[in-house]
């Protein structure tokens, strides 16, 4: 059973539709108790980092997500969800994240391309990620991005894939063991995106069992 975390910050309908299309049973998770019913959690996200963290804390989901991953169960983060995995973000002032993957979230520079980074970009494997099966799955695929901030992981092997924004390399996929984050929206990236989501779910469920 996949749990789709409902914390008032996600486009749940698109992800629900994607999971339905992929025939993965899922439920909306609104409380700490409901996280315990799931084998894999997805943290979606649209909106500001501060608003996202506040909602997770207010709904009591912050601690239950940390407990979920520490019991080696898999977690996928999408867009803001992926950013919330980091230690902190500088959006609207410094704000603490979940601290699951070392690093921070910073604003995209607007020197060589406009911000938000909006549109389809080619995702390429990062050099240090050749050992991750995920890097082979995602390499050379075109995915839809729309974001103004991005993750800067401190540990090189946590960076699985990137895209380009102007002259800058921008994190597209991060992973630390049972935790995977996508900066782009696989549920909005056509058939290839749906396929990536499906393969990632299956890979993580196998990996952690």
């Amino acid at each position: 059973m996949i749990g789709l975390i409902n914390y008032g910050c996600g486009n749940l309908r698109s992800l629900s539709n994607a999971l339905t299309r992929l025939n993965h049973p899922f439920m909306l998770v609104c409380s700490p108790e409901e996280t315990k019913l799931c084998d894999l959690l997805i943290l979606p996200g649209v909106g500001s980092f501060q608003h996202g963290m506040k909602n997770l804390v207010d709904k009591g989901l912050h601690d239950s997500i940390l407990e979920f991953v520490s019991s080696n169960k898999p977690l996928i983060g999408i867009c803001l969800g992926c950013q919330l995995f980091m230690d902190s973000s500088s959006e609207f002032g410094l704000c603490k994240g979940l601290g699951l993957i070392p690093g921070s979230v910073v604003r995209l520079p607007s020197s060589s391309e406009r911000v938000p980074n909006t549109g389809w970009k080619q995702v390429v494997s990062s050099d240090c990620s050749t050992l991750s099966p995920l890097s082979k799955i995602v390499d050379q695929s075109w995915m839809y991005f729309v974001h103004s901030y991005y993750c800067q992981p401190l540990v090189p092997s946590n960076l699985v894939a990137h895209c380009h924004h102007g002259t800058n390399q921008v994190t597209a996929v991060i992973q630390s063991g049972n935790i995977v984050g996508f900066q782009f929206h696989p549920e909005k990236s056509g058939d290839r995106g749906l396929d990536l989501l499906n393969q990632t779910i299956n890979y993580l469920l196998d990996f952690t069992h």
Partner: protein, 253 residues
Amino acid sequence: MSTFRLISRLDVKPPFLVKGVHLEGVRKLGDPVVFADDYYLQGIDEIYYQDVVASLYGRSNLYSLVNDLSSRIFVPFALGGGIRSVDDIYMALDSGADKVTINSAAILDPSLINKSVHIFGSQCVSVAIEYTKLSTGKWTPLYHSGREKSHLDAVAWAAECSDRGAGEIILTSIDREGTKKGLDLELGLELQPNTSCPLLLHGGIGNAEHVLEAAVNGFSGVIISSALHFRLTSISQIRTLLTSRNISVRPAS
């Protein structure tokens, strides 16, 4: 390099896809779902839905259409027309839209841009500016589907929207809209140094060359209505032309 965005716009007067000229008159073209499905299969990057009678009723009527489409079309879409408040944005996102376009409501209360961006993030909030050129040579936005004059200067208004955090600005030339005679680039070129967010052009595309013109002039993308609805060009044709001129576009899958 940024990828040039090809976006289809579907004007909807439920239950029909419609098309006007200079924002006036509505000719019924058919079922919006059929058109949307076709564009998705052709590989459109994004789809923008506009409820053309929302401001008459004071609300958007497209939530159930968006709901239906989001179960079959897995590319981003925006909902515009009648989005007036943060609550309307919640409803739009809950029904499956990825972002909203606001026009009239932002002109009447510019702080709506800041409020929405703070809650939903810039990526959810596009500001649409429908403008006309005055005899003075300046441009001015109109609102309520072109029925009301804002008395604003379009350059200053767009710069303000960008400063307030709009995720992108959509410029629709009312003078060119529906004419298929090509886009107006003038206002957009004036705005490029005054804005930091993506700029999309809309209004007047009649063929693939019109799209190329926007791309080589540094715009982020175009929104295409008539040219696709009336099959004057196709997404494949546009993609081939842009690629041949070294403009980055999403490749055919």
